[in-house]
């Protein structure tokens, strides 16, 4: 064979001695650059950037965020239009809004966290893998190759980024519309002390962080459901149903022993950040609980996705 004369091992690129092909082969002699020969970047930064870009370029993502922004706007407009506030009824802080517009964001979070926020998270987290499968892009990402673990991690980070955006949207839209429609001023905390506007805004940001963390466990659940099916709506519905079921269980006193283990147990605990001094206990407990859900459902998603036959 002619290739025997060529010291192919000395060639730095992994050029193929393709003239060794037995029959009917098309002869070639030019060593061609290959993907494997190119220097490999260690991180998957490009894929993550692309994931976030695709996520936040989708009209659906913007529709979800707009729906979330509509909650504080609706609340603020409704209070503005009604002349007589009914103290003591409705969500906490509702009766304070007309005196201090800064409370709109917090009030909206209390309204949104049982259903609207989990709904949007369910849509995004349930869509992560199943959505790619339904578009037929999952197989192309994997043979690109993205690597299954890397894709799963990038997908989860994408869902987490949406959690940040969702929580911030409610808080920022609420604070903005409150400032627009109502007088604003120093905020009286639950413990009676008063803080300035600047510190109040900082605490609202901390609350957005708390809410984001609250949703990370549910995102992991959604990611896992998304690896089970090729139908995104199925994974979304399962995630949202579980969020609702979790809160129903959380409301049943008969199942009290179970409550500390439910992912939604500390969801409303963010009001602890409006005490003086700030009570960080629920923040920490919540973070540990959510991390536990992330570990368990992350591992389940990993186990499922790594061995899954991609037939979509």
């Amino acid at each position: 064979m002619p290739s025997d004369a060529v010291p192919t091992k000395a060639v730095p690129t992994n050029a193929v001695p393709s003239d060794a092909v037995p029959t009917n082969a098309v002869p070639t002699d030019a060593p061609r650059p290959t993907g494997a020969a190119a220097p490999r970047r260690a991180s998957g930064a490009a894929l993550l950037r692309s994931e976030l870009w695709v996520l936040f370029r989708r009209r659906r993502t913007w529709a979800l965020l707009l729906a979330l922004a509509a909650i504080p706007i609706l609340i603020a407009v409704a209070i503005r239009l009604s002349s007589s506030p009914s103290p003591g009824r409705g969500p906490a802080f509702l009766d304070q809004v007309s005196q201090n517009g800064l409370f709109v964001g917090v009030t909206a979070l209390i309204v949104a966290i049982p259903l609207f926020l989990p709904l949007t998270i369910g849509v995004v987290a349930g869509d992560t893998i199943a959505g790619e499968a339904s578009h037929g892009t999952l197989r192309y990402l994997l043979i690109a190759p993205s690597g299954r673990v890397r894709l799963l991690v990038v997908k989860y980070i994408g869902a987490a980024a949406f959690c940040v955006a969702a929580a911030l949207t409610v808080v920022v839209a609420g604070t903005a519309v409150g400032a627009l429609l109502f007088p604003i001023g120093p905020v009286t905390l639950l413990s009676g002390t008063t803080i300035g506007i600047g510190e109040a805004l900082a605490r609202f940001l901390a609350i957005a962080g708390y809410v984001t963390i609250s949703l990370l466990g549910l995102s992991a659940i959604g990611l896992f459901f998304s690896t089970i099916t090729d139908v995104p709506v199925g994974a979304m519905t399962a995630t949202i149903s579980l969020a609702v079921a979790g809160q129903i269980v959380g409301a049943l006193p008969q199942l009290e022993w179970l409550h500390p283990w439910i992912f939604s147990h500390y969801w409303l605990g963010f009001v602890d950040l409006l005490r003086d001094p700030i009570s960080w206990a629920s923040f920490g407990d919540n973070a540990v609980l959510q991390a536990g859900y992330l570990v368990v459902f992350g591992a389940l998603a990993y186990g499922r996705f790594l061995t899954k036959d991609i037939l979509s």
Partner: protein
Amino acid sequence: MTSAGDDDLAIETSGLTKRFGRQTAVNAIDLAVPRGSVFGFLGPNGSGKTTSIRMMLGLVAPSSGEVRVLGREVPRHLPEVLPRVGALVEGPGFYPFLSGSANLRRLDSADRGAPSATRRTRVDAALDRVGLSHAAGKKVGAYSLGMKQRLGIANALLVPRELLVLDEPTNGLDPQGTREVRHLIRVLADGGTTVFVSSHLLAEIEQMCTHAAVMSVGGLVAQGTLDELRRVGEARIRLLTPDGAGAMRVLARLGLESRAAPEPDTDYLVTASLSPSSGADAVAGAPPAGQSDGAGGLPAPETIVAALVADGVRVRGFSVQRASLEERFVALTGEGFDIAQ
């Protein structure tokens, strides 16, 4: 050359099997795709082509058996193998809400070996190669079937590849597009890329491939170069003569079983099989190594004519005909229209 880990093979499978529940979609196939070949993977609908391709690309785990791609075992060495392989699997898959070029950039960013700096130029070049430059900014949701198919091929060409695996690449393309894809495959092959292309269209395989393998009901029924595949088909002699009975006598003496049919103009058409009793499947599964014509002690055509003439048979026409590849294909995969499983 050993069969295990043969470096001259771009794809090699041994006993590759995939079962879906009770159904065996791919049944112990031993493929050998030489480097540099344009290898046609032929088979009717549902014969297991796509499933085999999915196993080669690590999308589906084999139930048993092994796959080696570019000399490395799959799926163990997928991270090293896949950057060198471009593929189109069971039609294109894209985000309908992104433009064609945005889709390609997205998929390219998933390949860690593909440099970001050249992404845009590489995407543009790939789009240009499949004739989609003018539709690059259009949302894929607004693409026609053939445009999506072209975009799928462009995706396989984003970086130079050693191996292209194309599952029915001309599906949905217009005749012009089909020709362009055939041309593209030839250009890529001339550049040294091995092209593994599945199809259920024999004519297409015949026009662009150097090698082919035929699948039927999950099994590999033949493979080799196109010439080898043609050769194993049955050869027949056709003799035109007024002396039908005499011709049959001579042929019988030479060990050939013949039939005579009366033709207009008082001639007879005498036909006889030149192949040893239909041993066509002798090469099935294994790459046949240059089988000689007229094996099995059967007489060469010139000997037959000489014997006929010596016996006073008036030979008015004589020809040796081989089964066309299409007849071969039908013989291998069955005539029926119904899906076999």
